[in-house]
Symmetry: C2
Subunit: 373 residues, 2 copies
């Protein structure tokens, strides 16, 4: 929900989407992908950077390239349907790229929903698919509500536990209002993503807010360097008395919809995020719902709800009330205004490193100039 | 998730379920219900008290009786299907009792799921249906996963807002493991239910934990008496930096699945909980999912996940790790052990008042004796 602009990022460079897409495609082909697969990785990473979700964008390119070159993820995997009944399908992800699996499964869910009102697709043998929120937009493009869920490597302490046994298991839902407007929630069920704690440390912050993280024994901790030394994230709500057991429950709900329904690993048995031997074997769930099957006028009512929410009297007039997805939208507007993706210089340095490593020529970047407001 | 036993309640009396059911039925018939409707109210309230969710049990009988006697809720309403397609149905709740609507819609969802793998039922023109978690158990009784959602009267401040514009909109899911074991999550999307703040005040507590409530301007507040004077609840997570925007998003997601999809009022336009003129006109959503449509062996995997979770090393050995629904289960076990529903004396006094008010003879209660452990 929070985009980089409001997190106080500053930008130094602008890169045109097509330049970035070409660069990603070349890198992916280098590690064994065909062009269809390579383009899918590009779409996935650019989706995130266009919306200011840098933690799920180009910043993670090396992870996907590593999984491909070590063959822990199949460069040219092809998901296939194992079972179909009514509104449901079970898919084998064939250990393909998460983005390929996500595109396949959400499109399948939409196709099933066009016939049955609902399409509910569960997949095993999948991989990290970038920002969960991306897939729901495919449904919204067709006038439907879209959900996507995935299990992830265990980095979260369930309430009362001294062991990490859950991922940051995201919940995402995108619902179409009028025109281009949407409700677009995309949230980890931990209070924050692990990356947010890393950023706090890099910025030299002494402590992070309550509820973000815990030390290696699962005890709430505010110092980022202690959390990062074998600690982990806390479920949404933080400690038990502040509602953390609800975050734990939501995180487990996602696990039930993903690994447990799809028949893959779950909870503490999922491989570590940095693993390069074992395949990820993630479970995911994609749902499309056709609101036309229910009361007429869905998009108008949703529009009214979004507008009403944005017009609520804020506590602090400088911090207006926002809807899920509004921060991403502002960031997308910024990229449109400056004619490309915007990056901090450290991200361009990172890409230079990848360019050298894979021997792919670098692309043109221009200097960022803040648009007049 | 937290049952009364662990909240430090003490019990004085035991009432047999049948005695309580008869009493509720007589009260409901007195205010215009037929026996079918009256029995449904009984089942709804006893479900909650059997599980220690006293805030949704007999404690609320007067609210249902008031809605029925003022005719803001129709004593003999009959829900009917407005639209059916594939895995979906839209239902008009006919302003019937929430329990009647909930039983009807969840059974319809199960019936649809038996045919289509999924049953997704949305209803408008409904009423308060007690504990949301009750309905998912109907699905689990048939080997399915069940979800129930409802919108509720606005008592929660969305993140950054100085106005209350959302309910405590619960999310509930029940999934069957082996034998009688289940994952049963039933949670308000606010950090706590309003009733928990009232209880803190009644117990003379000076302050409640961070994230529970806000003053009348939406600013976080710890003193229960200030929260109760025109303030409200905060979304799960509490203030923005601790993740409250995620609780807001989840709360809005429930609103989208309920009022907005079903075509009823939503957000700040839902009547106040204490209203007796306007009908409640709540929107609700019931989903049944047949896990057999996906990977074989769902209940075994869920059982393994539940057992693994319960066996995690706890931070504090006296506070074992629990799964959603475990506290309710312990309370149900207690009621089975002592042969009836257990109550604090204040609840029996409350029932005496209702007995006099509606001129219904009181029932037999016995003294509570803690079972040997």
């Amino acid at each position: 929900m929070e985009a980089a602009a409001e997190r106080g990022f500053d930008y130094h460079y602008v890169v045109q989407q097509q330049e970035m897409q070409d660069f990603i495609v070349k890198c992916a082909i280098k590690v064994g992908c065909d062009s269809v697969q390579a383009e899918s990785i590009g779409r996935m990473l650019i989706y995130a950077d266009e919306r200011g979700h840098f933690s799920h964008g180009i910043n993670r390119l090396h992870v996907y390239l590593r999984d491909l070159s070590t063959k822990t993820c199949k460069p040219n995997g092809k998901p296939k349907i194992l079972k179909r009944k009514g509104a449901t399908a079970l898919v084998d992800g064939d250990n393909a790229l998460g983005s390929i699996v996500g595109e396949y499964c959400m499109n399948l869910a939409i196709e099933i929903a066009a016939e049955n009102g609902i399409g509910w697709v569960t997949v095993n043998n999948s991989n990290h698919f970038g920002a969960a929120g991306r897939y729901g937009h495919f449904a919204a493009d067709k006038g439907m509500i879209g959900f996507a869920f995935t299990n992830t490597s265990p980095t979260t302490f369930p309430t009362r536990s001294s062991q990490k046994a859950l991922g940051t298991n995201p919940i995402s839902i995108v619902a179409p209002a009028n025109g281009e407007d949407r409700f677009a929630l995309d949230m980890a069920t931990s209070t924050v993503a692990f990356g947010k704690i890393e950023i706090a440390e890099r910025k030299g912050k002494d402590c992070v807010p309550s509820g973000w993280g815990a030390n290696e024994n699962g005890i709430e901790e505010h110092k980022p360097e202690i959390i990062l030394k074998g600690g982990g994230t806390l479920p949404l709500g933080g400690i038990e008395e502040r509602g953390g057991y609800k975050g734990t429950g939501l995180c487990q709900m996602v696990e039930i919809l993903c690994g447990i329904t799809a028949g893959g690993p779950f909870g503490k048995n999922i491989r570590e995020w940095t693993g390069t031997v074992q395949k990820a074997d993630l479970g995911q769930c994609y749902i499309a719902v056709d609101p036309e099957c229910f009361a007429e006028g869905f998009t108008n009512r949703l529009q009214e709800f979004l507008d009403e929410t944005r017009n609520l009297e804020p506590i602090d007039p400088s911090l207006p009330v926002r809807c899920a997805g509004d921060f991403s939208k502002s960031h997308k507007f910024l990229t449109e205004n400056v004619g490309g993706l915007v990056y901090h210089k450290s991200q361009i340095e990172y890409l230079h490193k990848i360019s050298k490593e894979h021997n792919i020529p670098f692309f043109e970047v221009s200097n960022f100039k803040a648009p007049k407001t």
